[in-house]
C-alpha cells in the first residue's frame, strides 16, 4: 500500500476517526521498507491520544518525531516549534498527523506557501461508525471544511471504519459501502480499507480478495486494553 503514496503525506479527518493509529502504522511500514521517516504531530487542539504519546515506539524504530512545543505535557499551549518549518526540506518520507476536523486542520493553512512547493498526498480518514460523521453528508461536509481551512487538496480516502472490539464482518461491509459512497460523491479513490490485524488474522473479518486492505496494529488504546494485548 505504501508504494502508492508520495513521500509527503498529510493525514486528516474527523476528530477521533483513527488518524494517529493509522499514522503510526504507516510510519513503521515505511521504516520496514528501508525509508527514513519523519512523523510530525501537528495536532494543536487535543492533548489526549496523540502521536506525541507514541514518540518512544516511533523513535525506537528510528523514526524522527517532531511535536508541538509542550506536546504530551500538561501544558496545552498551541505553539509550533521552528523545526516544523524544516519538514519541507526533508529528503525522504514525511507524515503529518493533523488534529481533527477543520479546527485541527486550520494549522495547515499557515504552511500553505510551503505546501505549494512540495508534492504531497493528503489523506482523508473516515469511520462510518464515528459519531458526527456517520452519514454521507456529514462526512463530505467535514472534508469540505478541512479543505477550506487548510487550502490543501485531498488525494485519497482511507476507510478506517470499525467498532473497536465489536467489529465484525457486517461492520466491515457497511464501512466499505460507506467509503464507496463517499468516493463516488467526492471523486477521491479509496487508498485502502483498514482492518485490525487481530480481526484479520483470526478471520473475524474476511475481506473480499479484491479489497485493497491494510491490516493495522492497534497502538492507540487505554491502559487497561494495553495490558490485554501486547503487540508492540
Amino acid at each position: 500500500m505504501i508504494e502508492k503514496l508520495k513521500d509527503f503525506i498529510v493525514v486528516t479527518g474527523h476528530y477521533g476517526c483513527g488518524k494517529t493509529n493509522f499514522t503510526i502504522n504507516l510510519a513503521l511500514d515505511f521504516v520496514k521498507a528501508g525509508r527514513k521517516v519523519t512523523v510530525v504531530d501537528m495536532d494543536l487542539i487535543n492533548p489526549y491520544f496523540r502521536t506525541s504519546d507514541f514518540k518512544g515506539i516511533l523513535e525506537e524504530k528510528g523514526v524522527e518525531v517532531i511535536t508541538p512545543v509542550f506536546g504530551a505535557t500538561n501544558l496545552d499551549i498551541p505553539s509550533l516549534p521552528a523545526s516544523m518549518y524544516g519538514i519541507f526540506e526533508k529528503k525522504d518520507v514525511v507524515i503529518i498527523d493533523v488534529g481533527g476536523d477543520d479546527a485541527g486542520s486550520m494549522v495547515l493553512g499557515r504552511f500553505k506557501p510551503q505546501f505549494d512547493k512540495v508534492d504531497y498526498d493528503m489523506l482523508y480518514v473516515i469511520n462510518r461508525f464515528r459519531s458526527m460523521s456517520t452519514d454521507l453528508d456529514e462526512a463530505v461536509e467535514v472534508l469540505g471544511e478541512i479543505e477550506a481551512v487548510s487550502g490543501l487538496k485531498p488525494r485519497y480516502l482511507v476507510n478506517n471504519s470499525h467498532m473497536m472490539a465489536e467489529t465484525n464482518q457486517a461492520i466491515y461491509e457497511e464501512g466499505k459501502q460507506f467509503a464507496g459512497m463517499i468516493s463516488e460523491k467526492t471523486g477521491l479513490p479509496v487508498l485502502c480499507h483498514t482492518i485490525d490485524r487481530e480481526f484479520y488474522d483470526t478471520g473475524i473479518v474476511v475481506p473480499d480478495v479484491n479489497d485493497n486492505i491494510y491490516p493495522l496494529e492497534i497502538y492507540v488504546k487505554t491502559v487497561w486494553q494495553k495490558n490485554k494485548i501486547v503487540r508492540i
Binding site: 476528530y15 477521533g16 487535543n46 492533548p47 489526549y48 491520544f49 500538561n74 496545552d76 469511520n127 461508525f129 464515528r130 459519531s131 458526527m132 456517520t134 467498532m163 473497536m164 465489536e166 487505554t222 491502559v223 487497561w224 494495553k226 495490558n227 490485554k228
Partner: protein, 350 residues
C-alpha cells in the same frame, strides 16, 4: 440515534443531555472537558435549545441556578479547577432546593495541577462542594455507555429529591472512545415542578426560589427537613456493581476509570488462581454501604484503588468498620495505575 456509534465520553454526556430533555446548557471551556461543550454548541441549536458559553465558570453555574429555578432541565460542565469556581453556586442551588446536573471531568490537582485524568475531587464531590450543610448526588460512570446512561438518571434523581446531582467523570473517560447506543427515546421521569418560579400568571401564589433565611430557626428547620430527605436518598438510591465478589478473598474497591484497570487486574489475578473481586460504587453519594456490607462476611481484605491519595478509603473503612483490613493503592497527579501495578498489590496481599 438508536444505532451504535463510537463516541468519546464527553460527547456521550452531551448527547445524553439532549436525549434527557435538557435544553439549557451553560459552560466555560476547560481541558479535558471541552468536547462536551463543543458537542452541545453544535447540537443544541438544532434542537431549539440554548447553548451559552458564559464569561466564567461562576457565571455559568449561576445561570444554571436561574434556569433550573424556573423548572427547566439545566446543566453545566467543567473540570476540577472550574468546579472549584462553581462551588459557591452549587451551594446556592442546594440551598434553594433546585435540581440541576453538574459534570466534572476530573484532572490532576490541587491548583492548576495537570490536564491528565484524576479522581482527586472525590472529597470535593462527596463531602464539600460548597459551604453549608448539604449533599449532592454523585454518579461515577466507568464506561462511555454509562456516561450516556447516567445523565437522564442524574436529572431524574435530582428532580425527585430537589437537589443537585453530579456526574463525576475523569479525563480518561471523557477522552476515550467506545461504542455507545442511545435508546430510541430516552425514558424521562420528570419530577414535580410546582415549586418552580415559572410565572404564576395570576393563577396561583408566586413561588420563591431562594437560599436566604432571615430567621436562624427557619434555616435550621429547612436544613433539617433537607437532611430528612437525604436519609430517604440514602435508603433508596445507592448503586453499585459487584464483580466476582461472592467467593473473593481480596476485594478491590474502585470507581470510574480506576475500576476499569482494577477489573483487568482482577481477571489477571483469577487467571493466577487468586480469588480477587471488584466492588464498584456507582453512586459515591449516597455511598453504597448496604451492598458493601454484604461482602464483609466473606472477604479477607479490601484494597481501595484510586487515582488520588486515598480519598475513598475512609468511606470503605466506615462501611467495613474495623472488621477487615482496608489497604490502599493509588497513583495521582494525572497518572493512571496499570493493571500490572494493581495485580502486584493484590499478590502482595495474598
Amino acid at each position: 440515534m438508536s444505532e451504535k456509534v463510537l463516541m468519546k465520553g464527553n460527547e456521550a454526556l452531551g448527547e445524553a443531555a439532549i436525549q434527557a430533555g435538557c435544553r439549557h446548557f451553560f459552560g466555560y471551556p476547560i481541558t479535558p472537558q471541552t468536547e462536551l461543550s463543543a458537542y452541545l454548541s453544535k447540537k443544541m441549536p438544532k434542537v431549539g435549545g440554548t447553548f451559552l458559553q458564559a464569561e466564567s465558570e461562576i457565571a455559568a453555574i449561576n445561570m444554571v441556578l436561574g434556569a433550573a429555578g424556573s423548572g427547566v432541565r439545566a446543566m453545566t460542565s467543567s473540570s476540577s479547577p472550574g468546579i472549584s469556581l462553581k462551588s459557591e453556586g452549587v451551594s446556592y442551588i442546594a440551598g434553594s432546593d433546585v435540581p440541576a446536573v453538574i459534570i466534572n471531568v476530573q484532572r490532576g490537582g490541587p491548583g492548576l495541577g495537570s490536564i491528565q485524568p484524576s479522581q482527586a475531587d472525590y472529597w470535593q464531590a462527596t463531602k464539600a462542594l460548597g459551604h453549608g450543610d448539604f449533599q449532592l448526588l454523585v454518579f461515577a460512570p466507568s464506561t462511555v455507555q454509562e456516561m450516556a446512561d447516567f445523565v437522564a438518571l442524574a436529572f431524574d434523581t435530582a428532580e425527585k429529591y430537589r437537589m443537585p446531582a453530579m456526574i463525576l467523570s475523569d479525563g480518561m473517560l471523557g477522552q476515550m472512545m467506545e461504542p455507545v447506543v442511545f435508546p430510541d427515546a430516552t425514558e424521562v421521569h420528570e419530577g414535580d415542578k410546582s415549586w418552580a418560579a415559572s410565572g404564576h400568571k395570576n393563577q396561583r401564589k408566586h413561588n420563591i426560589v431562594n437560599s436566604l433565611y432571615i430567621e436562624a430557626k427557619d434555616l435550621e428547620e429547612k436544613v433539617k427537613e433537607r437532611y430528612e430527605r437525604y436519609e430517604i436518598v440514602k435508603a433508596n438510591e445507592q448503586r453499585s456493581e459487584s464483580y466476582l465478589t461472592e467467593d473473593a478473598d481480596i476485594i478491590i474497591v474502585a470507581f470510574g476509570a480506576s475500576s476499569r484497570v482494577s477489573r483487568s487486574a482482577v481477571n489477571a489475578a483469577r487467571a493466577k488462581g487468586i480469588k480477587a473481586g471488584l466492588f464498584r460504587p456507582i453512586t459515591l453519594w449516597p455511598y453504597p454501604v448496604d451492598a458493601l456490607e454484604k461482602t464483609v462476611g466473606t472477604a479477607k481484605k479490601y484494597l481501595v484503588v484510586e487515582m488520588n491519595m486515598g480519598q475513598m478509603v475512609e468511606d470503605v473503612k466506615l462501611a467495613v468498620n474495623g472488621r477487615k483490613p482496608v489497604e490502599f493503592f493509588g497513583r495521582t497527579g494525572g497518572i493512571i495505575p496499570t493493571p500490572a501495578e494493581v495485580l502486584a498489590q493484590i499478590e502482595a496481599l495474598v
